[in-house]
Point group: C2
Chain length 150, copies 2
Amino acid sequence: MAGALFLEDLAVGQVWHGGPIEMREADIVRFASEFDPQPMHIDVDAAGKGRFGGLIASGWHVAALVMRDFVDKAPFGDTPMLGLKVDDLQWRHPVRPGDVLSVTREIVDVTRSRSKPDRGVVSMRMTVANQDAVVVMSFLNLIQVPARTV
Amino acid sequence: MAGALFLEDLAVGQVWHGGPIEMREADIVRFASEFDPQPMHIDVDAAGKGRFGGLIASGWHVAALVMRDFVDKAPFGDTPMLGLKVDDLQWRHPVRPGDVLSVTREIVDVTRSRSKPDRGVVSMRMTVANQDAVVVMSFLNLIQVPARTV
């Protein structure tokens, strides 16, 4: 974990790397059985005959695992943050059992609040790729971060 | 479950209702322990002293439960669909143990593909409210839906 980073420490172009996230078939089926019980996520035989030719992970499972990786990596240290918004969340390629995912987190905008200058909003682009460097998911995360000084 | 609905059956202003989704403390802690292990989600004592004054659910947990409700309610019947994108996903109010959530799904746009007229994209606004009618989460979901006729 890095030391605590505040708004003044963050700048467009800073990048952190996350992962590896190993996708196991049992975990894919377990998550989807509870939250996204469609045949392509929970039934190996049906998935094999379906459009993806095999079991694929629920997109919400991948998103949840990327959140876990963010908590573990704590790029901003123990600075209290508040997720405000997710935009442009796309599942761009199937995630399959055995895939190993990596995450790239890049700051694309830093804006101090005009009305509340003790804080600001950081926009972070999250790009998730598999072991073949194919992007499987991406999204933009707007995060409220406290400032060190007003 | 409704009969299978295709692109021609869908129109702006159509609304489906989902829920109830009952938020249990044990489930909140279990999900967050695996995917979002921050004190506000997993540690009752620490959460009580934190900014929300008690345990709150991970936003990704709420999103996953809304997915489950979508699969259960199957507003489009067994029509094969493909989630393309999520935009404007906001967690607007804390979700706490004991909350009971409802979901409103409203079609806000229907566009047939020009290049591939056998399909189109439906934009559905998802609004999740608690038992006090306070909106806790909302997002826009772009879904690819097959057309009945070209």
